[in-house]
Symmetry: C2
Subunit: 198 residues, 2 copies
């Protein structure tokens, strides 16, 4: 039952389209594991698939705790619930942290491309004080970006989520499917599908 | 800045009230850690606070993977995003798994009480085939509960989430607070509050 195209991707694109009028349908919860072995969980925004792949893009601040956690343990699970269509995608995989020092020119280009699609108002977030640190009264307000056409700031980080398992459930039809990735002999990613009990 | 009452609890109750007209405002994402050290994440339903405490109640099937994971590693983090008020609660803590074999009479009473408040239609879920196992065509449909007034079925499990840290952010006001629990010399739970950068 393997297939080269990710069979859950079309389900996800359909869910995004049918829930497209709801702003929060782009929001998902990303779980990681901290250095203490405890789980962490936070809401992040879906920034699209990487061209021609099933890799999911997420923007973040390189000073945030999730970056530290992912460098320590690269595994993560997305929980994405669509409030109108009652569909849940649990997407398990490995996350690549592409920051300004990433040693690969192609990845750095992808980071630049992702940065260029961020609205200038949102870019300002990366110039604020260190997220999660104590709030100091009188600390300098966000600096202004001198030139909005310039490249990514150092604190901007692109997360590339590479899925290897998707647990999909539709709570209206009560159907649940498990999709698992494996590698072909040519190194191609193959997906299998199994129907499981909800 | 310590206080015996959980200062984030009133914020959460206010968020629940102001988002009360939205069915999914009772839905939250619960992250745990699997035996393989990878994170898991799924949507669950808030079933209220335990009387006179800040412990959060969640119903689940004792045959689900989260129960196995929590028995292995009791730490979890809730991510609860309120789509209308733009508030996020990240609640970190320890989860007690109260199943039919739990060796404490008071906890078993709490489990019975929680079961009695489940609508009979929802109770039927616990009689279906083992969640997550392969779906078999022709497998017996859900059995009927003989007597809806009888006690909890074996597969019903009450999760009691005992918070020790809450990271709250309001994306409208851009204010973020970190609440941390500690114990007083009398064993009482004390909460401290710190404002941190969003």
């Amino acid at each position: 039952m393997g297939s080269a195209a990710a069979p859950w991707k079309s389900l996800l694109l359909t869910a995004l389209e049918s829930n497209g009028h709801i702003k929060h349908s782009q929001f998902l919860q990303l779980a990681t594991v901290g250095a203490n072995g405890r789980p962490s969980n936070r809401t992040v925004v879906f920034r699209g698939f990487q061209e021609g792949s099933d890799n999911i893009q997420i923007n973040t601040d390189s000073r945030s705790r999730k970056v530290e956690e992912l460098k320590n343990c690269p595994f993560a699970e997305i929980c994405w619930y669509f409030t109108e269509s009652w569909e849940q995608f649990r997407i398990s995989g490995r996350v690549e942290v592409v920051d300004s020092l990433y040693p690969d020119a192609i990845k750095l280009q992808q980071r630049e491309k992702a940065w260029s699609s961020i609205p200038s108002k949102t870019r300002m977030q990366y110039l604020g004080p260190n997220p999660g640190l104590p709030y100091l009264t009188g600390q300098p307000a966000k600096e202004n970006l001198q030139d909005s056409s310039s490249g990514p700031v150092d604190s901007y980080c692109l997360l590339v989520f590479n899925p290897d398992q998707v647990d999909y459930v539709n709570l209206k039809s009560e159907k649940r499917f498990l999709y698992k990735a494996s590698s072909s002999s040519r190194g191609e990613k193959l997906w299998s599908t199994e129907r499981i009990n909800p």
